[in-house]
Structure formats: structure tokens, C-alpha cells
């Protein structure tokens, strides 16, 4: 069944809830592995670089964001890997999922208000539309 589960996470509360569900599914399937994908948003890089003294600090901060997700997965004792890539969140997740031929994508809904969603667009919506495998959107 779902051997390779892609968990798209940004460290937000929604993504932690998504991690919980991904872990639940993975713990039922022997030999499954969760790939935690963190996309460093192009549009946020300027701010990240500006607020860090050097490159190591940027990496550290990104890893720190994923810490709650990693802890949760460790507690649930599921196998996982972490991948950090730079790009536009929506398209990057779609590209990764389709190229790597993962079996399932788990993603948190972002819970923006109507105006924010109108301006920013919904990442999970893009993913649901364009990924070729089943997608679970966690509310």
C-alpha cells in the first residue's frame, strides 16, 4: 500500500496535525517511510537572509521550524527522512511528489482567512489539483 508517504510541512499548527495523521497511517503499514518535505519559500528568503548572520543560522532556523514535526514522528516511532528544498511551495511540492512517484501526499490546510487566501492562493488546493497520487488534506 502506501510505502512512500510525502508529508509537506512548514512547521505551522496545521502541518503538525497533518504529521499526526501521516504518522497514524504509516504506523499501520510495515516498511513505510514518511518523507518530510519543507519548502523554503522563495518570497521569504530575503527576510530569512536579512535576519540571520550567516548561512548556517538560516539552516538552523529552518530545522527548528520542523522540530515539533520531527519530535512527533519520533514519538510515534515511524521511519522518516527530512528534505529541505528551495522554491515556490505549491509547484515544488507537486514537482517533488510527481518526480519521486510517492504513494500518498499528506498536507495541512493553511487556514487563512478569505482575503489572505484570495491574495496568496491555497497551497493545498494547488497540490490536490496537480499531484497524481492520492492526497489527504488535514484540517
Amino acid at each position: 500500500m502506501y510505502q512512500r508517504i510525502l508529508l509537506a510541512a512548514d512547521g505551522s499548527k496545521n502541518s503538525i496535525r497533518a504529521a499526526q495523521h501521516a504518522a497514524n497511517i504509516a504506523s499501520l503499514i510495515t516498511g513505510s517511510v514518511i518523507e518530510v518535505l519543507f519548502v523554503a519559500d522563495f518570497s521569504k528568503i530575503k527576510g530569512e537572509v536579512l535576519h540571520s548572520q550567516n548561512h548556517e543560522e538560516i539552516e538552523l532556523k529552518r530545522n527548528q521550524k520542523l522540530l515539533p514535526v520531527k519530535e512527533l514522528l519520533s514519538v510515534k516511532q515511524v521511519r522518516y527522512e527530512v528534505k529541505i528544498i528551495v522554491g515556490d511551495p505549491g509547484p515544488s511540492i507537486v514537482e517533488y511528489a510527481n518526480n519521486e512517484k510517492v504513494d500518498l501526499v499528506v498536507i495541512g490546510s493553511r487556514g487563512l482567512n478569505a482575503l489572505q487566501e484570495f491574495v496568496l492562493g491555497s497551497v493545498s488546493h494547488k497540490v490536490v489539483k496537480r499531484v497524481q497520487c492520492p492526497v489527504i488534506v488535514v484540517k
Partner: protein, 423 residues
């Protein structure tokens, strides 16, 4: 990285051109290039990484505010139609990308609104009203200025400011590009390259430029990775001016002002507000000071220099606080010193001891301290000698290797006839 004439640099040049004329700008551009080239050769450019992030955040915010302020004269209090055009431009650039991304929204705004303005015969100020655009390829010439010290004295401050601001923005850009592409870049080489480019630019009648954050990010996002992408960007700009020059002058100013407002909103670091709350108070103060000084002087380099000095002072103040604990066991009194002992902390060090003690054993423990300079050694001398005057037995212990070395080299308290130095 895409380099060109940037807003930050242009803002610095305005007073020079106003007071002395265009030819001085070309000379200043060449000199800026020479300074940047030298900074690259002598590896000074790398030192830019010591600029605290509070100053960098202040720099970016001040730049955004200056860009915004520069637009105000182009749309405030001119006509109602001007306001309408600015508003329509802003709506187009912010809403359109939500539905349609193939063509950049600012381009759509410019084309649509320029056509609308021409067809409707609307009375709006255009780019052509500000100045002429000469549609010829530039040629080599030597700036027409007297070559003497007076000229140098005029252009040198501008060139220095330009060199600093240019390097700062370029290095910030290169850090961002580094992070986006996951590669490393050589900052000194970057400085040399920009220096050479500016020298050449000056001789062809251009203004000093530097790397541009916005354009470089767009370039990398669109897949540009090598030199070809930046070459194409430059060639396309030449093409625009030469072929489309007569259209460019027709662009209504409010449309450009609207786009520049978008640029300034994009440039501003909006997380600064949470930074102000979360970061140490001194960092927040440095950031605000940088912004305020830039906005008041319209000179980014002054803000940066003031910011760096201010944060250096705060750093010294922070690091110079010593902690000295007193413990007495029987007749032995031990002072435990922790912190950095140097010129800024000697006064606190000397005041911390109780000099009323007589006829006992005093130990000063430096296990958690470091003595940095001769002022520090002098302070230790002073304390030791004062205690000895009151017939105490003083020992110093726990010195680390380099503190020991400097004490052995400079201290006089082991000399039996030593007197307290009269400072």
C-alpha cells in the same frame, strides 16, 4: 545576479548632480569603481559580514521608505486622475498575478494604462516630462571635469558612500542568491567585478550601479543560473531604450509611481515589527536609529556607519560588565571574577573590591575571566598594590594562558617597590 542602476545608489547621487552637474557624477562613478576594486583586492569586502543584522534590517527598511518618499512628489496633489491611475496600477499589480502569471503584472499595468492615457488624451505627467531619453548607444569619453584636488574633495565622499551602499546591497543580494541556489559565492570577487563594471560605466556616461535584489530573485526564480541570464537582461534593457524609447516617454508617471510603491512595499522587511518586540532592546534601537538617520539625511551610508558604531558601543557595553563575587573562608577572602577585563571594564573592576580589609589573605580568582589589554593589567596592578599597602597577602590564580602572558609581560605588582600609578 542582475546589476544596474539601483534606487539606493540614485538617491545618493541626487545632491551631487544638483550641485555640481552630470560630469561630476561620471567621475564619481569611476572613483566608486576604483574604491570597490581596491576593497575587493585587499579583501575588505569580506569584512562586510561583520555588519550586524540590525543594521542590515534598518538599511533595507530605510531604503524602502526612501523609495516611497521619492514617489510622493509624483502623485500627491497633482490631479484626481493621477490618484486614480496610481490606484488602478496598484490594483493591477496586486490582484492580477492571482489569476494570471504568464506576463508580469507591472508590464501589463504599464502597457494598458499607457494606451489608455494616450487614447483618452488624459492630462497626466509622463516620463518624457522628467527628461529626455537619448536613443543612441553610449560612447567612450573622459568626464569633463578639472582634474585637481578640489574635484577629488567633491566626489570622494559621494564615491565612498556609493561604494559602501553598492557593496552592501550587492552582498545582501548574493547571500540571497546563494541561499536560493544552494551555492557559495566569493564576496571579494563580487566586489572586484562590480568595481570594474562601475569604472567602465563611468567612462561611458553611466551612473554607478550595484546588484538588485528584486531583479536577481526574479532571475533565479525564472531559472537563470549562469552569466547568460544577466547578459540577456542587460541586452534587453538596451533594446527597450533604443527601440521602444519613444513609447517609454509616453508612460504616465502615476503608473510608474504605483509600481515603485509596490517595490517599496516589497522591499520593506515587514517582520521588523516582530523583530522589534522579540530581539534584544539594543538591537531594536540600532535598527531604528539606522532608519531614522537615513530618512533624515537621505544618505544610506551615513545610517549604516552610525548603526555599526552604535552597535559596537552596545556590544562593548554589554561585554564589559563584570561579575565579581566575594567569599570569605576563615581569614582567606576570595574574589571570583567572571567576564572580560579590558579598557571599558577596569573602572567597575577596581570599584568592586573592598579596600578596608587589612592583615588578611586575599585571593583573586580569574578562572572565568580574560584580561585583554594593558588597561586590564593596570587595573589588576592597582588592586593588588592597594591590598599590599594594607598589609594583606595577595595571590592571583586561575589565569588562562593568554591572560597570564600579558600579566607577566606588563604587570608591575611583583616589583617590591611598586607604587600605585597615578593616572
Amino acid at each position: 545576479m542582475i546589476s544596474a542602476a539601483t534606487g539606493a545608489m540614485a538617491l545618493l547621487m541626487v545632491p551631487l548632480v544638483k550641485e555640481h552637474g552630470l560630469q561630476y557624477l561620471f567621475a564619481a562613478t569611476v572613483l566608486t569603481g576604483i574604491i570597490q576594486l581596491l576593497m575587493g583586492v585587499f579583501k575588505v569586502a569580506k569584512l562586510m559580514k561583520f555588519i550586524p543584522r540590525a543594521v542590515m534590517i534598518g538599511f533595507v527598511n530605510a531604503l524602502a521608505i526612501l523609495i516611497f518618499m521619492a514617489q510622493i512628489t509624483h502623485f500627491v496633489g497633482i490631479s484626481t486622475m493621477t490618484y486614480v491611475f496610481v490606484a488602478i496600477t496598484l490594483i493591477i499589480v496586486y490582484v492580477l498575478p492571482r489569476f494570471f502569471k504568464a506576463v508580469p503584472a507591472p508590464l501589463i499595468a504599464i502597457v494598458m494604462l499607457t494606451v489608455a492615457a494616450i487614447w483618452g488624451g488624459l492630462d497626466l505627467r509622463t516620463v518624457g516630462d522628467l527628461g529626455e531619453i537619448t536613443q543612441t548607444l553610449p560612447s567612450f569619453f573622459i568626464p569633463d571635469i578639472p582634474f585637481n584636488f578640489e574635484t577629488l574633495a567633491i566626489i570622494l565622499p559621494y564615491s565612498f558612500a556609493l561604494a559602501i551602499v553598492g557593496l552592501l546591497e550587492s552582498l545582501l543580494t548574493s547571500s540571497i542568491v546563494d541561499d536560493m541556489t544552494g551555492t557559495e559565492s566569493n564576496k571579494n570577487k563580487e566586489s572586484r567585478g562590480q568595481g570594474i563594471a562601475n569604472i567602465v560605466t563611468g567612462f561611458f556616461g553611466g551612473m554607478a550601479g550595484c546588484a538588485m535584489i528584486g531583479q536577481s530573485v526574479i532571475n533565479v526564480k525564472s531559472g537563470g543560473r549562469g552569466r547568460l541570464s544577466t547578459l540577456v537582461a542587460g541586452l534587453f534593457l538596451i533594446f527597450l531604450i533604443i527601440v521602444l524609447g519613444e513609447w517609454v516617454v509616453q508612460i504616465p508617471m502615476p503608473v510608474l509611481a504605483g509600481i515603485m510603491i509596490m517595490v517599496s512595499i516589497g522591499t520593506f522587511d515587514w517582520s521588523s515589527f516582530s523583530y522589534l518586540r522579540k530581539a534584544p532592546k539594543t538591537d531594536g534601537l540600532v535598527m531604528l536609529a539606522t532608519v531614522v538617520i537615513v530618512v533624515l539625511t537621505h544618505d544610506l551610508s551615513k545610517g549604516v556607519i552610525a548603526g555599526v558604531i552604535l552597535s559596537a558601543i552596545f556590544f562593548v557595553a554589554k561585554i564589559s560588565s563584570l561579575e565579581i563575587k566575594k567569599r570569605s573562608i576563615g581569614k582567606v577572602i576570595t574574589y571570583e571574577v567572571s567576564g572580560q577585563l579590558f579598557f571599558a571594564s577596569t573602572e567597575q573592576f577596581i570599584r568592586a573590591f573592598d579596600y578596608t580589609i587589612t592583615d588578611s589573605t586575599v585571593a583573586i580568582d580569574f578562572s572565568n575571566a580574560h584580561i585583554w589589554d594593558d588597561s586590564g593589567v593596570g587595573a589588576v596592578d592597582r588592586v593588588v598594590i592597594k591590598y599590599r599597602e594594607n598589609n594583606n597577602d595577595v595571590t592571583i590564580k586561575g589565569l588562562n594562558a593568554s591572560s597570564k602572558k600579558i600579566i607577566e609581560k606588563l604587570a608591575i605588582h611583583n616589583d617590591a617597590n611598586a607604587q600605585v600609578k597615578t593616572h
